[in-house]
């Protein structure tokens, strides 16, 4: 039984049901379906305001065709936000620390934007591979570079989310271990470490929200080029 710092990222099973299933389903409890009343409870009002904010922010740069993506982008944003923030509670499991899950989210959506562009406007999509005003001699090299950068986008999307969240959780665990270990030996240093832990936790809350936003924003950017 190896007990390393990476043990927090394994999904334990109870009676054959992995914890990741519970972590993915739990945000559904926190988001009530709005009923047909005009004035609902505070949670529904907050939720409605927040969804309007996200949808407006994501859909403003897109044209009419892009608005078909509103549902999937908004629900993806809410899923990532909820799972990232819930992972900061003690003993919980964050599904977005698993590279498999993030790649499963990033790759199909990126491929969908690419295929939409290639199907509906192939010359414009291919035209993105060459920026305007490049010197003629540089064109072959630049096409290769832009193709590489295009093909690496899903990898970057998935790995960015995984790496940020995993690193944050690991840092929290390391610094809290240091705080507890130092408490009997040097209490002053332990209090300083506890202060660092507090600041780090605030940073992690911010990172959780920002990473969810960046993921969805980049997808909408890739969509803008292709639709």
């Amino acid at each position: 039984m190896s007990l390393s710092f990476f043990d927090q990222f394994t999904s334990p099973c109870l009676l054959g049901i992995p914890l990741i299933l519970l972590s993915m389903l739990f945000p559904a409890l926190l988001l009530p379906t709005p009923n047909s009343r005009w004035i609902t409870n505070r949670l529904s009002t907050l939720q409605l305001w927040f969804f309007h904010l996200i949808t407006k922010q994501l859909m403003t740069p897109l044209n009419k065709n892009g608005h078909k993506w509103a549902l999937i982008l908004t629900s993806l944003m809410v899923l990532l936000l909820a799972t990232n923030l819930l992972g900061l509670l003690p003993y919980t499991f964050t599904p977005t620390t698993q590279l498999s899950m993030n790649m499963a989210l990033a790759f199909p959506l990126w491929l969908a934007t690419l295929l939409t562009g290639l199907r509906n406007q192939p010359s414009i999509s291919l035209g993105h591979l060459l920026p305007e005003g490049t010197p003629t001699l540089l064109i072959p090299a630049l096409i290769m570079i832009e193709t590489t950068s295009l093909l690496i986008r899903p990898l970057a999307l998935g790995v960015r989310l995984t790496a940020n969240l995993t690193a944050g959780h690991l840092l929290i665990q390391l610094i809290s271990t240091a705080t507890i270990a130092l408490l009997p030996i040097m209490p002053t240093v332990s209090i300083l470490t506890a202060l660092i832990l507090l600041l780090l936790t605030i940073l992690e809350v911010a990172v959780a929200m920002i990473q969810a936003y960046v993921f969805v924003l980049l997808l909408s950017l890739y969509l803008q080029e292709n639709i």
Binding site: L14, L22, N41, L43, L86, P90, T177
Partner: protein
């Protein structure tokens, strides 16, 4: 038949025998329980953070229980 809160401790097996333990019955029971929690603590005119906080605390406890077999091994470690 009767609600769970009205059943005394000694009568619990008898009450369990009367209630519907099929999958649909259990699902209906879960839905009723969730709706009564939601209507009591969240779906109120001037709700506060209490409703959601209790849910999150329950989620933490559930995750602890799920992880217990693994956490048990950390108890007598010399270096954490």
């Amino acid at each position: 038949e009767r609600r769970l809160m009205d059943v005394r401790l000694g009568e619990l097996p008898a009450w369990l025998a009367t209630c519907d333990l099929s999958p649909q019955g259990l699902l209906g029971g879960v839905r009723k329980a969730w709706n009564s929690y939601y209507d009591k603590y969240i779906n109120v005119k001037r709700g506060g953070p209490a409703g959601i906080s209790m849910l999150l605390a329950g989620y933490c406890l559930l995750s602890y229980g799920w992880n217990y077999q693994h956490i048990k091994c950390h108890r007598w470690r010399k270096y954490h």
